[in-house]
Symmetry: C2
């Protein structure tokens, strides 16, 4: 039986019809109606109806950036989509004829990697998605760790610097402020503005476009620009330090790094691995975990969300 | 059927025969043979034989301070007992006729609180034991979280200060260096030595005894000494900050604070709660967890270890 996975992103909503092996059999997408909650609901409904036309589907898993409650029904808090206690499941239930669950987007992506991607074969996997923010998913003993209120695995909000930078969540010093694509872009803009030699290429790219973009920073990385590589290595160092600290809590076999910034591959993984080892408690007396990049490129959210609704329905 | 719980501490080895309801029916204890691994094995064997004399017991759970491997057999690393890859289970198996598992001491204590103490009725509980070090236990969805290599829940080794104090585990800035009884005693000694008015009582207690002890610091706390209370509040603030950060990972319903320092009760819990709230990601948009002191005083380790061996045998 098929299941539908939907991934609500800041710019587009992606949908897929997925079979029991995690294979996508149909895909569709629309632009995200900006800052329009009801528009998003209608767009999801239209996508789902399109995807299930003429077939039978067991349910819909909807991945969204935000803290989801333990019943997988309400988006408690979403910094980027401006949702606060949004009853997304109830709104979709009212318009759809098949069961719906709501899932955190990084949880969905992590689950896809665990089941079908870089984490397959493991039992204890941690995922970090490095994009606009830093998302996380924790799989412990082959189960998604959700916590008592459903908001576990929000790894972008572990604190790595006391009294550090203010985060969108209201706390200070969260990993997201040091290890996200947004943090990298901010640092790159500062370097471009600094007038230093190290920022020359970034400055040139900025001047050509008016304002430096994430794509340009990535271009500078691919050109082995020393300034951009240093900033990427600093980001990787924060992530590696965070992984060492998480090891004391979760002790995973493998950490999977996803999200847009993970496209940098080994240029990112090497500083992560180095910082992980340098900060690992009882290093030398314990097994070392694997750190890998995600195998899914764009479809982790929809594939994971589809698999998770299947699982949720099987457990009812 | 009875089970035996053994708790190997730095100064004494405690043992108990425990029934299926977590009730202790027999107890025994001996002094820990200092820095003598074989002596510890023999002492445990003697205790167990004494406890099971004339009754039937299903197995022995042995709690010890240290990182235990995923098979619950080997003490991989124990900072305080100087064990490195100690095959404790094999050594005990050779001398005992009933099954043995090895368990981290804070895991055992946490399990006792979860089953019979401050955490009963919850599904997602985190325990922090504040004593010589800082120990931890994580119960997620009513199961002990052990991680891929068995060393999860070592919450004293999450990093709370980048490039912070050197820890016994080799890493820098671990919670244990800021939130343990040892850290409190170090700060109290520094305050006594400082010559400041705030350190007057601590200095007086120190001068009476030659060197300031943990018991004296506790005495100063009970006397509402401003200096000792400030240091306790600072310790509580680190613990509360750590709990806020752990919430992003584990999102527990309840955090139980145990270990010797937890005897300070609300004098410790208040600064912990305040710092937890001040540092909680998305505060106001999520449920707040409960923070309570442990209900067991001395027997959590033996009761938890006995219950865990019962559980391990049932799952085989």
């Amino acid at each position: 039986m098929y299941a539908v996975g939907i991934d609500i992103g800041g710019t587009k909503i992606a949908g897929a019809l997925v079979d029991e092996d995690g294979t996508i059999v149909r895909e569709a997408r629309v632009a995200t109606p900006a800052s329009d909650g009801e528009g998003i609901v209608d767009a999801v409904v239209t996508l789902v109806e399109e995807l299930i036309e003429g077939v039978e589907a067991i349910g819909v898993g909807v991945a969204a950036a935000g803290f989801i409650d333990a019943d997988q029904s309400i988006i408690v808090y979403s910094p980027n989509l401006s949702w606060r206690n949004e009853p997304l499941k109830a709104k979709l239930d009212a318009k759809l004829s098949i069961p719906v669950i709501i899932e955190n987007d990084a949880n969905a992506a992590g689950w896809a990697e665990f089941r079908y991607g870089a984490g397959r074969g493991s039992k204890h996997m941690t995922m970090l998605t490095i994009g606009t923010g830093v998302g996380g998913a924790v799989i412990a003993d082959s189960k998604m760790l959700r916590g008592g209120f459903g908001i576990g695995g929000e790894l972008g909000h572990i604190r790595i610097v006391p009294n550090g930078l203010l985060c969108g969540c209201g706390a200070h010093g969260c990993l997201e402020q040091y290890g996200s694509g947004t943090a990298l872009l901010r640092a790159a803009r500062e370097l471009a503005d600094s007038g230093s030699d190290e920022g020359a290429l970034l400055r040139k790219l900025r001047d050509a476009a008016g304002e430096l973009t994430g794509d340009q920073v990535y271009e500078a990385i691919l050109q082995s620009d020393a300034g951009a590589l240093r900033l990427l290595a600093e980001l990787g160092e924060w992530i590696g330090q965070a992984i060492a600290s998480l090891t004391a809590v979760l002790d995973p076999e493998i950490v999977v790094i996803g999200g847009g910034v993970s496209a940098a591959g080994d240029l990112l993984l090497e500083p992560i691995r180095k910082a992980y080892l340098a900060n690992l408690p009882a290093r030398g007396y314990r097994p070392e975990l694997k750190i890998k990049t995600a195998e899914f490129v764009n479809d982790a959210g929809v594939v994971g969300a589809a698999d998770l609704v299947r699982l949720a329905l099987a457990q009812r």
